[in-house]
Symmetry: C2
Subunit: 290 residues, 2 copies
């Protein structure tokens, strides 16, 4: 049905499923904050889960549960990343961040509870009838998001701010592999786990688009429009942090992103035309304006 239609359909399906799943929680500020912080966004990670699963014939009404889990996990990371002690951001997706709308204590607890919720969703039979598949998803998400994955990337990012010298290209690549890449790779390979298929081609695809995603973020930070992006821009440049743009130049960063898109497309070869939407997603990731 074409990439844009299929992305829009997934966004809607994930949004509804998250609303339903979050109805189990009450009306306390923490529960409201969980709904608020999972209520928007492009759902790219959830879409990756569903598109990858579709390659192996997994219907969207089954794969949507794991898609909700990764969106909850991603939302937790944003809520904590926006805290004053971390990136100190007041605005996210054009809206006040959770600690601005409520307070810091609520934001800490909202992030904590969203992480828990991600694992709760994966553990439920709705994710997959086979407990062995569900536990593989839990194990891989824990590795991808913990102190060897996403949290390590965030810690390296914080350390970079007070480092005496800017990071090298290798160091930035390692940082992003944790901070952004690990969840993107989990999302694509989760589709293969749900389909009980070999995850290797999707892992290669995801590593390429994960890096392309971060390069595109760095390009957007320099060239983008804050109103369109819905967040503060040029903060890395202001902070004197090394980025793919500062290290490769704007043209060099664009060329590297284009190479990675080609690499991602090549990794999809085993799937033939069924991989077209994932190929289009790779292009979308580097061309987005928000």
């Amino acid at each position: 049905m074409g990439f844009e239609t299929s992305l829009a359909a997934a966004q809607q399906q994930i949004g509804s499923a998250l609303t339903n799943a979050l109805a189990r929680f009450g009306a306390e500020p923490v529960a409201e904050g969980m709904r608020y912080s999972t209520g928007g966004g492009k759902r790219l990670r959830g879409y990756l889960v569903m598109e990858s699963a579709a390659l192996f014939g997994v219907p969207s009404d089954r794969s949507v549960q794991a898609a909700c889990a990764i969106e909850a996990l991603h939302a937790y990371s944003l809520v904590h990343d926006d805290l004053p002690a971390m990136d100190d951001d007041d605005l996210r997706r054009g809206q006040p961040t959770v600690h601005i709308k409520w307070d810091e204590a609520t934001a800490i607890l909202v992030g904590d509870a969203l992480q828990t919720f991600a694992f709760e969703l994966l553990a439920e039979p709705a994710t997959h009838p086979d407990p062995a598949v569900r536990i593989a998803l839990v194990a891989s998400l824990a590795r991808a998001s913990g102190a060897q994955g996403m949290v390590l990337g965030q810690a390296l990012d914080i350390a970079a701010e007070s480092a005496a010298t800017p990071l090298t290209l290798d160091e930035i690549t390692r940082l992003q592999a944790g901070k952004t890449g690990a969840l993107i790779e989990w999302s694509a390979t989760a589709g293969a786990l749900l389909g009980q298929a070999d995850p290797a081609p999707l892992a290669a695809y995801a590593r390429a688009i994960g890096l392309a995603f971060q390069i595109a973020d760095d390009i957007l930070d320099v060239t983008g429009d804050a109103a369109t992006a819905g967040k503060r821009l040029q903060k890395d440049a202001e902070a004197g942090k090394a980025t793919f743009v500062s290290l490769l130049g704007l043209d060099g960063a664009r060329a590297r992103a284009a190479d990675l898109v080609a690499e991602a497309e090549a990794a999809l070869a085993p799937y033939g035309r069924k991989g077209d939407d994932l190929a289009a997603l790779a292009h979308y990731i580097v061309a987005r304006d928000a």
Copy 2:
């Protein structure tokens, strides 16, 4: 072998197993903070897992992995609870809290990564060879620790601080059922899950000792010695918060705790003499001085 010997043995076994399991992480401040914040404590939740599992013949070298998971989960809750935006505590177990020893950003990430680590441990085959048992442990821990369990209790606790009127006994009981009770109940019933046995008697036991634990905490807050407790005391009284002591009086609170210990002992009846150490634990919980 007697309660004190068996508690000491479990403490040592859990400490060694946590050290081994945490060796997978690097030398970054986040990894060091994970080791630091899991390095002490009475290991009561982990001991509960192992003692409960032993009722059903599960050897300690198998149950220790789930014990490590609950200790990691508990440590995450303490690290976040100590943050300036939460309870703002500088001291924990007689040592500087993580945000004092490092900084707030590191403490947020240490807590985040410890939560992830708890689920990572449960998902590993070392917890139990059957994926269905492991996924049941993941699902129940997520429910116990999330926005319907521990995090809900913490949120109610924070809301109580700015409430116009002190909480009632029912409200405090609900608050503690989340904040302290949910993890204690998980720990006891995890033993039954590991032993693939009926968790109902252990759940009743755990609900009684969980409430007794919090009442004992409130008594200790008034009568205890800060140096022995290794943390700031009387902060609830200073904050004008309702506690079991303020609502029941010191004698009333002590009588209620004693009733709960008797209730816990009665719940252990199905296990005969095999439940002696768990009965002794119930007495220990209300008699401890730290």
